[in-house]
Amino acid sequence: MKQQEVVIRCEKLSKDYGSNNGLFDCNLTVKSGEVFGLIGPNGAGKSTLLKLLMDSIKPSSGSAEIFELDTQQHSLELKARIGYLPGELMDFPSVTAGYILNLLLNLRGIEDRERLKIISNRLQLDLNRKYQELSHGNKQKVGLVQAFMHNPELLILDEPTIGLDPVIQRELRTMVQEAVQEGKTVLLSSHVLSDVESVCSRIGLIIGGRIVREGTLAELRSERIHKITASFIGKKPTSTQLITSGATEVVVTKDSVYFESNGSINEILQLLSHFQVSELDSRELSLEEVFFSEVNR
């Protein structure tokens, strides 16, 4: 597959559960080799989007394509090429983890068990233990193994790190990065913003069923608000001067000024250069702060 081919394309994809719940007019493009991270609060519509892509639920309107195939019309064909981790754990009774994974491999018509063993080892999953006796984290590993075990071209992972210990989380990040190096594409949702930040090349912030922000990490950074505190010897700029230069939330104290700037701070720096700055502290908002600023908007 050529680099930067479109793997996922959603056009005005909606699923209306009523009472303003669901997903609305979702336009999304994920390209080959990307790790796209969906972040958003509970009930924002992340899992709904992933379920729509997997044809687990039917859309109210709009369309979705994966590998240029309609997700509803080519559902089976696409599932052969996708590894999907649902947001909820499975609940298979009275069988071992190995039995479940072998069953799911059989359903896929795959006889080779080598990759299943390799991935289980990497995630430190004991295949011989009864599934019901496993901890939450180990059950999550079963879900992850089934998503990776058939070497899919596209991974769709709903909250993949939930319940995993830090060692396994790191291993999972490595597995995702390896998948991308092999030319695969990953779409994941997460509440763990640091995970998204560390592994995703592009991020979509989804709130109230709508994607409100989307872009590469660099793009999001450029949109980020800088929080700046400057101390001065002698004269200091006035509020009006700072606001004229693009600053917001200006607070002027005896020796220093505090302000925020959204986007480029060149004009503000030019203004500050006319004064004798004794101390300058500039901080970008973290992804978490961006997240909360959007959520609270």
Binding site: M54, D55, L105
Partner: protein, 255 residues
């Protein structure tokens, strides 16, 4: 997937067979002794207990040839097994897909290159196979109980239970159908259980009230009771087997 579905049901099948065999065996021994030792003989016994049986009609019916071990067992045990097997089938139908949806297992199945229709069909066939395995096992257990009590009727016992297994299959489809219109598998199971119980009771009392009689034709228990060759002199009605199988398939296809 079929083997996995059967595997999920193996404990239930085993419980049915062990419990059923024990119930049939010891009940047959007790009834055989009662028939043998009752003062005046089996006919007097049958006549003397009829008022009690009439009074308990709502729980068990029909009662035929109570002067024979096959007849007494058919009344005392098989009518109840018929009801409980129907409840089992109804619950399996009610939980078939809804339970998978509630646990989230369905997403794992569907993401593994399978369709909802295939999943539904394979698991329904597994449920039907389990139901028939239980029926066959109970038939064999009854045959063994009759043999041990001196009234051998192997084919009659087996055919009687196979008739039950087949004739109650529509309630599986009914459970499946109801599950689509309610919020969860518990509600579906509860609603289906109530309907199956009403159908069972109606069939028991229908002959007593002329205005109820036409309603008995809606009850799968009526059709199961048409085939009771376990009772000496009684035969099987294979047309009812075919009709009830078709009703079962039709209800299944409504999903």
């Amino acid at each position: 997937m079929f083997a996995a579905a059967i595997r999920e049901r193996r404990a239930t099948i085993a419980a049915w067979l062990i419990g059923g065999t024990l119930a049939m065996y010891f009940e047959a021994l007790a009834i055989a002794a009662e028939l043998r030792d009752f003062p005046g003989g089996p006919e007097v016994l049958a006549k003397s207990i009829m008022p009690t049986i009439e009074a308990m009609r709502i729980i068990r019916w029909p009662a035929d040839r109570l002067d024979t071990l096959g007849g007494y067992l058919a009344y005392h045990n098989i009518t109840l097994f018929n009801y409980f097997l129907a409840l089992y089938a109804a619950l399996q139908g009610a939980r078939l897909i809804r339970r998978l949806e509630e646990t989230g297992d369905i997403e794992f199945y569907l993401s593994a290159k399978t369709t909802r229709a295939k999943l539904l069909t394979v698991r329904s066939i597994a449920d039907f196979a389990a139901q028939m395995a239980i029926s066959l096992g109970l038939g064999l257990a009854t045959a063994f109980a009759l043999q041990s009590s001196g009234e051998a009727n192997t084919s009659g016992a087996i055919i009687t239970f196979l008739a039950i297994g087949i004739c109650i299959s529509p309630v599986f489809g009914l459970g499946l159908l109801i599950s689509q219109f309610v919020k969860n598998s518990r509600t579906a199971a509860g609603a289906t259980t109530i309907i199956v119980t009403i159908l069972y009771v109606l069939n028991n009392i229908a002959e007593k009230y002329s205005w109820l009689e036409p309603i008995k034709y809606l009850s799968p228990f009526y059709y199961a009771n048409l085939s009771r060759p376990v009772i000496p002199g009684f035969s099987s009605n294979y047309t009812s087997w075919i009709v009830m199988s078709l009703v079962g398939v039709t209800l299944f296809q409504k999903d």
